[in-house]
Symmetry: C2
Subunit: 201 residues, 2 copies
Protein backbone atom coordinates (compact mmCIF):
# COMPACT_ATOMS: atom_id res chain seq x y z
CA UNK A 1 0.00 0.00 0.00
CA UNK A 2 1.41 3.35 -0.99
CA UNK A 3 1.61 5.79 1.89
CA UNK A 4 -0.84 8.68 1.65
CA UNK A 5 1.61 10.86 3.53
CA UNK A 6 2.91 11.06 7.06
CA UNK A 7 -0.18 12.83 8.41
CA UNK A 8 -2.53 10.12 7.08
CA UNK A 9 -0.18 7.47 8.50
CA UNK A 10 -0.20 9.12 11.91
CA UNK A 11 -4.01 9.34 11.92
CA UNK A 12 -4.19 5.68 10.91
CA UNK A 13 -1.79 4.69 13.70
CA UNK A 14 -3.80 6.59 16.32
CA UNK A 15 -6.82 4.44 15.43
CA UNK A 16 -5.08 1.50 17.18
CA UNK A 17 -6.03 3.10 20.51
CA UNK A 18 -9.20 1.60 21.99
CA UNK A 19 -12.19 3.93 21.67
CA UNK A 20 -10.48 6.06 19.02
CA UNK A 21 -12.10 6.15 15.57
CA UNK A 22 -10.97 8.03 12.45
CA UNK A 23 -12.59 11.33 13.56
CA UNK A 24 -10.97 11.36 17.01
CA UNK A 25 -7.66 10.23 15.53
CA UNK A 26 -7.81 13.15 13.08
CA UNK A 27 -8.52 15.58 15.91
CA UNK A 28 -5.64 14.16 17.97
CA UNK A 29 -3.14 14.33 15.10
CA UNK A 30 -3.96 17.95 14.23
CA UNK A 31 -3.92 18.97 17.90
CA UNK A 32 -0.52 17.39 18.54
CA UNK A 33 1.11 18.71 15.35
CA UNK A 34 -0.24 22.23 15.61
CA UNK A 35 -0.26 22.85 19.34
CA UNK A 36 1.74 20.29 21.28
CA UNK A 37 4.68 18.64 19.54
CA UNK A 38 6.58 18.34 22.83
CA UNK A 39 3.84 16.07 24.22
CA UNK A 40 3.77 14.09 20.97
CA UNK A 41 7.50 13.43 21.25
CA UNK A 42 7.21 12.52 24.92
CA UNK A 43 4.32 10.14 24.16
CA UNK A 44 6.36 8.58 21.37
CA UNK A 45 9.24 7.97 23.77
CA UNK A 46 7.01 6.56 26.51
CA UNK A 47 5.29 4.17 24.08
CA UNK A 48 8.65 2.90 22.85
CA UNK A 49 10.10 2.55 26.36
CA UNK A 50 7.01 0.87 27.80
CA UNK A 51 6.61 -1.55 24.88
CA UNK A 52 10.23 -2.57 25.15
CA UNK A 53 10.70 -2.75 28.92
CA UNK A 54 7.41 -3.65 30.56
CA UNK A 55 7.01 -7.34 31.28
CA UNK A 56 5.26 -9.32 33.99
CA UNK A 57 6.09 -9.43 37.72
CA UNK A 58 7.69 -12.79 38.61
CA UNK A 59 5.54 -13.10 41.70
CA UNK A 60 2.10 -11.56 41.07
CA UNK A 61 2.16 -11.42 37.23
CA UNK A 62 1.09 -7.79 36.90
CA UNK A 63 2.68 -5.45 34.33
CA UNK A 64 5.97 -3.96 35.49
CA UNK A 65 9.37 -2.97 34.13
CA UNK A 66 11.11 -4.64 37.10
CA UNK A 67 11.52 -8.28 38.00
CA UNK A 68 9.20 -7.73 40.96
CA UNK A 69 6.49 -5.05 40.83
CA UNK A 70 6.41 -2.20 43.35
CA UNK A 71 3.69 -3.86 45.45
CA UNK A 72 5.61 -7.16 45.67
CA UNK A 73 8.82 -5.27 46.51
CA UNK A 74 7.18 -3.21 49.27
CA UNK A 75 7.93 -4.66 52.76
CA UNK A 76 5.29 -2.40 54.28
CA UNK A 77 2.49 -4.29 52.55
CA UNK A 78 0.62 -6.98 54.44
CA UNK A 79 1.92 -10.22 52.97
CA UNK A 80 -0.74 -12.33 54.69
CA UNK A 81 -3.50 -11.05 52.40
CA UNK A 82 -3.60 -11.99 48.74
CA UNK A 83 -6.13 -10.35 46.42
CA UNK A 84 -6.94 -12.39 43.31
CA UNK A 85 -7.96 -10.43 40.20
CA UNK A 86 -8.50 -11.22 36.55
CA UNK A 87 -6.32 -8.57 34.92
CA UNK A 88 -3.43 -6.20 35.70
CA UNK A 89 -5.89 -3.32 35.14
CA UNK A 90 -8.06 -4.67 38.00
CA UNK A 91 -5.08 -4.70 40.38
CA UNK A 92 -4.19 -1.17 39.21
CA UNK A 93 -7.61 0.31 40.01
CA UNK A 94 -7.80 -1.46 43.40
CA UNK A 95 -4.39 -0.11 44.28
CA UNK A 96 -5.29 3.39 43.13
CA UNK A 97 -8.42 3.27 45.34
CA UNK A 98 -5.92 2.98 48.18
CA UNK A 99 -7.76 1.02 50.89
CA UNK A 100 -6.19 -2.39 50.37
CA UNK A 101 -2.67 -2.88 51.75
CA UNK A 102 -2.02 -6.54 50.92
CA UNK A 103 -0.54 -8.17 47.83
CA UNK A 104 -2.06 -9.27 44.51
CA UNK A 105 -2.16 -12.24 42.19
CA UNK A 106 -3.24 -11.74 38.58
CA UNK A 107 -5.02 -14.68 36.92
CA UNK A 108 -4.82 -13.22 33.38
CA UNK A 109 -8.31 -14.44 32.64
CA UNK A 110 -11.05 -16.49 34.29
CA UNK A 111 -12.18 -20.08 34.12
CA UNK A 112 -14.43 -20.52 31.11
CA UNK A 113 -14.97 -24.17 30.14
CA UNK A 114 -16.99 -23.16 27.05
CA UNK A 115 -13.94 -21.30 25.70
CA UNK A 116 -11.62 -24.13 26.70
CA UNK A 117 -10.08 -22.17 29.57
CA UNK A 118 -9.53 -24.49 32.54
CA UNK A 119 -7.17 -24.34 35.55
CA UNK A 120 -4.21 -25.34 33.37
CA UNK A 121 -4.75 -22.49 30.89
CA UNK A 122 -4.78 -20.01 33.80
CA UNK A 123 -1.66 -21.64 35.30
CA UNK A 124 -3.48 -22.08 38.58
CA UNK A 125 -0.51 -24.21 39.71
CA UNK A 126 1.51 -20.99 40.10
CA UNK A 127 -1.16 -19.69 42.48
CA UNK A 128 -1.31 -23.03 44.28
CA UNK A 129 2.46 -22.99 44.82
CA UNK A 130 2.09 -19.53 46.33
CA UNK A 131 -0.71 -20.64 48.69
CA UNK A 132 1.29 -23.74 49.61
CA UNK A 133 4.37 -21.62 50.32
CA UNK A 134 2.75 -20.48 53.58
CA UNK A 135 2.42 -17.06 55.17
CA UNK A 136 -0.92 -16.26 53.47
CA UNK A 137 -3.91 -16.28 55.81
CA UNK A 138 -6.59 -14.70 53.62
CA UNK A 139 -7.36 -14.86 49.93
CA UNK A 140 -9.63 -12.01 48.78
CA UNK A 141 -11.46 -12.92 45.59
CA UNK A 142 -11.98 -9.85 43.42
CA UNK A 143 -12.79 -11.54 40.12
CA UNK A 144 -15.60 -9.92 38.13
CA UNK A 145 -19.22 -10.62 39.03
CA UNK A 146 -19.89 -12.52 35.80
CA UNK A 147 -20.83 -16.20 35.72
CA UNK A 148 -17.21 -17.09 34.88
CA UNK A 149 -15.83 -14.70 37.50
CA UNK A 150 -18.03 -16.25 40.19
CA UNK A 151 -17.08 -19.80 39.15
CA UNK A 152 -13.40 -18.82 39.23
CA UNK A 153 -13.84 -17.35 42.72
CA UNK A 154 -15.46 -20.54 43.99
CA UNK A 155 -12.76 -22.70 42.43
CA UNK A 156 -10.01 -20.70 44.14
CA UNK A 157 -11.93 -20.67 47.45
CA UNK A 158 -11.85 -24.47 47.41
CA UNK A 159 -8.16 -24.43 46.60
CA UNK A 160 -7.54 -22.12 49.59
CA UNK A 161 -9.58 -24.47 51.82
CA UNK A 162 -7.07 -27.23 50.97
CA UNK A 163 -4.33 -25.17 52.62
CA UNK A 164 -6.59 -23.94 55.48
CA UNK A 165 -6.53 -20.39 54.10
CA UNK A 166 -9.60 -18.24 54.61
CA UNK A 167 -11.23 -17.14 51.33
CA UNK A 168 -13.39 -14.01 51.11
CA UNK A 169 -15.31 -12.41 48.24
CA UNK A 170 -15.51 -8.62 47.80
CA UNK A 171 -18.99 -7.22 48.42
CA UNK A 172 -21.34 -6.62 45.51
CA UNK A 173 -24.16 -4.15 45.96
CA UNK A 174 -25.27 -0.59 45.32
CA UNK A 175 -22.25 1.59 44.40
CA UNK A 176 -21.44 4.49 46.74
CA UNK A 177 -23.46 7.52 45.71
CA UNK A 178 -25.60 5.35 43.45
CA UNK A 179 -29.29 6.18 43.34
CA UNK A 180 -31.54 3.16 43.83
CA UNK A 181 -33.81 4.33 41.04
CA UNK A 182 -31.09 3.75 38.44
CA UNK A 183 -29.55 0.51 39.75
CA UNK A 184 -30.13 -2.68 37.76
CA UNK A 185 -32.20 -5.45 39.33
CA UNK A 186 -29.33 -7.97 39.56
CA UNK A 187 -27.32 -5.55 41.67
CA UNK A 188 -30.35 -4.78 43.86
CA UNK A 189 -30.99 -8.48 44.53
CA UNK A 190 -27.31 -8.87 45.45
CA UNK A 191 -27.51 -5.86 47.75
CA UNK A 192 -30.46 -7.37 49.64
CA UNK A 193 -28.84 -10.81 49.86
CA UNK A 194 -25.67 -9.26 51.23
CA UNK A 195 -27.36 -6.95 53.78
CA UNK A 196 -25.53 -6.38 57.07
CA UNK A 197 -26.76 -5.88 60.63
CA UNK A 198 -26.44 -2.32 61.88
CA UNK A 199 -27.56 -2.70 65.51
CA UNK A 200 -26.66 -5.31 68.12
CA UNK A 201 -30.12 -6.72 68.49
CA UNK B 1 9.06 14.48 40.63
CA UNK B 2 9.98 10.87 41.17
CA UNK B 3 8.62 8.54 38.52
CA UNK B 4 5.88 6.19 39.71
CA UNK B 5 6.99 3.64 37.17
CA UNK B 6 6.91 3.30 33.41
CA UNK B 7 3.24 2.29 33.30
CA UNK B 8 2.14 5.38 35.26
CA UNK B 9 4.35 7.53 33.02
CA UNK B 10 2.77 6.06 29.90
CA UNK B 11 -0.75 6.65 31.25
CA UNK B 12 0.20 10.23 32.10
CA UNK B 13 1.63 10.81 28.61
CA UNK B 14 -1.51 9.47 26.94
CA UNK B 15 -3.51 12.18 28.75
CA UNK B 16 -1.92 14.75 26.39
CA UNK B 17 -4.29 13.51 23.67
CA UNK B 18 -7.40 15.71 23.34
CA UNK B 19 -10.49 14.04 24.79
CA UNK B 20 -8.46 11.50 26.75
CA UNK B 21 -8.74 11.61 30.55
CA UNK B 22 -7.01 9.41 33.14
CA UNK B 23 -9.56 6.58 32.81
CA UNK B 24 -9.32 6.35 29.01
CA UNK B 25 -5.53 6.68 29.19
CA UNK B 26 -5.43 3.77 31.64
CA UNK B 27 -7.59 1.66 29.33
CA UNK B 28 -5.38 2.54 26.35
CA UNK B 29 -2.13 1.72 28.16
CA UNK B 30 -3.33 -1.69 29.39
CA UNK B 31 -4.79 -2.53 25.99
CA UNK B 32 -1.59 -1.69 24.13
CA UNK B 33 0.74 -3.45 26.57
CA UNK B 34 -1.32 -6.61 26.92
CA UNK B 35 -2.77 -7.05 23.48
CA UNK B 36 -1.12 -4.88 20.86
CA UNK B 37 2.54 -3.96 21.40
CA UNK B 38 3.16 -3.96 17.65
CA UNK B 39 0.67 -1.10 17.23
CA UNK B 40 2.16 0.72 20.21
CA UNK B 41 5.61 0.59 18.62
CA UNK B 42 4.22 1.70 15.27
CA UNK B 43 2.36 4.58 16.89
CA UNK B 44 5.54 5.57 18.73
CA UNK B 45 7.46 5.65 15.43
CA UNK B 46 4.76 7.60 13.62
CA UNK B 47 4.54 10.21 16.39
CA UNK B 48 8.31 10.70 16.32
CA UNK B 49 8.47 10.85 12.51
CA UNK B 50 5.48 13.19 12.18
CA UNK B 51 6.65 15.53 14.96
CA UNK B 52 10.07 15.78 13.39
CA UNK B 53 9.22 15.98 9.70
CA UNK B 54 5.83 17.62 9.27
CA UNK B 55 5.97 21.34 8.59
CA UNK B 56 3.84 23.73 6.57
CA UNK B 57 3.31 23.80 2.79
CA UNK B 58 5.17 26.77 1.28
CA UNK B 59 2.19 27.63 -0.89
CA UNK B 60 -1.04 26.83 0.97
CA UNK B 61 0.34 26.56 4.54
CA UNK B 62 -1.29 23.23 5.37
CA UNK B 63 0.57 20.52 7.32
CA UNK B 64 2.85 18.41 5.14
CA UNK B 65 6.22 16.68 5.26
CA UNK B 66 7.11 18.05 1.81
CA UNK B 67 7.93 21.55 0.67
CA UNK B 68 4.66 21.61 -1.27
CA UNK B 69 1.68 19.54 -0.07
CA UNK B 70 0.11 16.89 -2.28
CA UNK B 71 -2.74 19.15 -3.37
CA UNK B 72 -0.38 21.97 -4.39
CA UNK B 73 1.86 19.48 -6.22
CA UNK B 74 -1.03 17.91 -8.13
CA UNK B 75 -1.28 19.29 -11.73
CA UNK B 76 -4.69 17.67 -12.13
CA UNK B 77 -6.25 20.05 -9.59
CA UNK B 78 -8.05 23.13 -10.83
CA UNK B 79 -5.66 25.98 -10.04
CA UNK B 80 -8.25 28.65 -10.83
CA UNK B 81 -10.23 27.91 -7.66
CA UNK B 82 -8.85 28.73 -4.23
CA UNK B 83 -10.69 27.59 -1.12
CA UNK B 84 -9.92 29.64 2.00
CA UNK B 85 -10.16 27.83 5.35
CA UNK B 86 -9.20 28.62 8.93
CA UNK B 87 -7.18 25.49 9.79
CA UNK B 88 -5.32 22.58 8.15
CA UNK B 89 -7.99 20.28 9.66
CA UNK B 90 -10.68 22.16 7.69
CA UNK B 91 -8.78 21.63 4.42
CA UNK B 92 -8.30 17.96 5.34
CA UNK B 93 -12.03 17.27 5.85
CA UNK B 94 -13.02 19.15 2.69
CA UNK B 95 -10.48 17.15 0.72
CA UNK B 96 -11.64 13.89 2.25
CA UNK B 97 -15.25 14.73 1.28
CA UNK B 98 -13.92 14.57 -2.28
CA UNK B 99 -16.13 16.97 -4.26
CA UNK B 100 -13.79 19.95 -4.46
CA UNK B 101 -10.97 19.75 -6.99
CA UNK B 102 -9.32 23.15 -6.61
CA UNK B 103 -6.55 24.33 -4.31
CA UNK B 104 -6.54 25.61 -0.71
CA UNK B 105 -5.19 28.44 1.36
CA UNK B 106 -5.00 28.07 5.15
CA UNK B 107 -5.43 31.24 7.20
CA UNK B 108 -4.32 29.65 10.49
CA UNK B 109 -6.99 31.56 12.37
CA UNK B 110 -9.64 34.19 11.68
CA UNK B 111 -9.85 37.94 12.10
CA UNK B 112 -10.75 38.73 15.68
CA UNK B 113 -10.12 42.38 16.62
CA UNK B 114 -11.10 41.70 20.26
CA UNK B 115 -8.25 39.18 20.55
CA UNK B 116 -5.88 41.48 18.67
CA UNK B 117 -5.89 39.35 15.53
CA UNK B 118 -5.95 41.60 12.48
CA UNK B 119 -4.90 41.08 8.83
CA UNK B 120 -1.22 41.35 9.79
CA UNK B 121 -1.42 38.58 12.41
CA UNK B 122 -3.00 36.26 9.81
CA UNK B 123 -0.34 37.25 7.25
CA UNK B 124 -3.06 38.20 4.80
CA UNK B 125 -0.30 39.69 2.61
CA UNK B 126 0.73 36.13 1.67
CA UNK B 127 -2.81 35.50 0.44
CA UNK B 128 -2.87 38.87 -1.33
CA UNK B 129 0.37 38.04 -3.15
CA UNK B 130 -1.23 34.78 -4.30
CA UNK B 131 -4.36 36.56 -5.57
CA UNK B 132 -2.20 39.19 -7.25
CA UNK B 133 -0.10 36.49 -8.91
CA UNK B 134 -2.94 35.82 -11.35
CA UNK B 135 -4.53 32.63 -12.57
CA UNK B 136 -7.15 32.49 -9.80
CA UNK B 137 -10.71 33.23 -10.94
CA UNK B 138 -12.72 32.18 -7.88
CA UNK B 139 -12.08 32.39 -4.16
CA UNK B 140 -14.36 30.03 -2.17
CA UNK B 141 -14.71 31.20 1.42
CA UNK B 142 -15.07 28.24 3.77
CA UNK B 143 -14.31 29.94 7.06
CA UNK B 144 -16.51 28.89 9.98
CA UNK B 145 -19.99 30.37 10.36
CA UNK B 146 -19.06 32.24 13.54
CA UNK B 147 -19.12 36.04 13.79
CA UNK B 148 -15.33 36.11 13.27
CA UNK B 149 -15.47 33.57 10.45
CA UNK B 150 -18.12 35.65 8.62
CA UNK B 151 -16.13 38.85 9.12
CA UNK B 152 -13.01 37.13 7.79
CA UNK B 153 -14.94 35.90 4.75
CA UNK B 154 -16.20 39.42 4.00
CA UNK B 155 -12.74 40.91 4.42
CA UNK B 156 -11.23 38.43 1.94
CA UNK B 157 -14.15 38.90 -0.48
CA UNK B 158 -13.26 42.60 -0.63
CA UNK B 159 -9.62 41.76 -1.16
CA UNK B 160 -10.59 39.49 -4.07
CA UNK B 161 -12.73 42.27 -5.54
CA UNK B 162 -9.57 44.42 -5.77
CA UNK B 163 -8.07 41.88 -8.18
CA UNK B 164 -11.40 41.27 -10.01
CA UNK B 165 -11.62 37.76 -8.60
CA UNK B 166 -15.07 36.34 -7.92
CA UNK B 167 -15.62 35.48 -4.22
CA UNK B 168 -18.19 32.86 -3.12
CA UNK B 169 -19.27 31.62 0.28
CA UNK B 170 -20.07 27.94 0.94
CA UNK B 171 -23.77 27.34 1.63
CA UNK B 172 -25.03 27.18 5.19
CA UNK B 173 -28.28 25.38 5.87
CA UNK B 174 -29.83 22.12 6.96
CA UNK B 175 -27.21 19.32 6.88
CA UNK B 176 -27.89 16.37 4.54
CA UNK B 177 -30.02 13.81 6.36
CA UNK B 178 -30.72 16.34 9.11
CA UNK B 179 -34.25 16.33 10.49
CA UNK B 180 -35.83 19.76 10.66
CA UNK B 181 -37.23 19.04 14.11
CA UNK B 182 -33.72 18.92 15.59
CA UNK B 183 -32.07 21.79 13.70
CA UNK B 184 -31.23 24.97 15.62
CA UNK B 185 -33.05 28.18 14.72
CA UNK B 186 -29.94 30.00 13.43
CA UNK B 187 -29.37 27.28 10.86
CA UNK B 188 -33.06 27.26 9.87
CA UNK B 189 -33.08 31.03 9.30
CA UNK B 190 -29.94 30.65 7.15
CA UNK B 191 -31.57 27.82 5.21
CA UNK B 192 -34.58 30.02 4.37
CA UNK B 193 -32.43 33.03 3.47
CA UNK B 194 -30.34 30.86 1.17
CA UNK B 195 -33.26 29.08 -0.57
CA UNK B 196 -32.83 28.25 -4.27
CA UNK B 197 -35.26 28.15 -7.16
CA UNK B 198 -36.18 24.64 -8.29
CA UNK B 199 -38.32 25.40 -11.38
CA UNK B 200 -37.83 27.82 -14.26
CA UNK B 201 -40.79 30.03 -13.52
Amino acid sequence: MQSKGLLADLIHSLCCLPGVGPKSAQRMAFHLLQHDRASAIRLSEMLALASKNIGYCKQCRTLTEDELCRVCQDDQRNCEQLCIVETPADAWVIDKAGGYKGRYFILHGRLSPLDGIGPDELNIDVLEARLQGGGITEVILATNSTVEGEATAHFIAELAQKYSISATRIAHGVPMGGELEYIDSGTLIHAFDGRRKLNDD
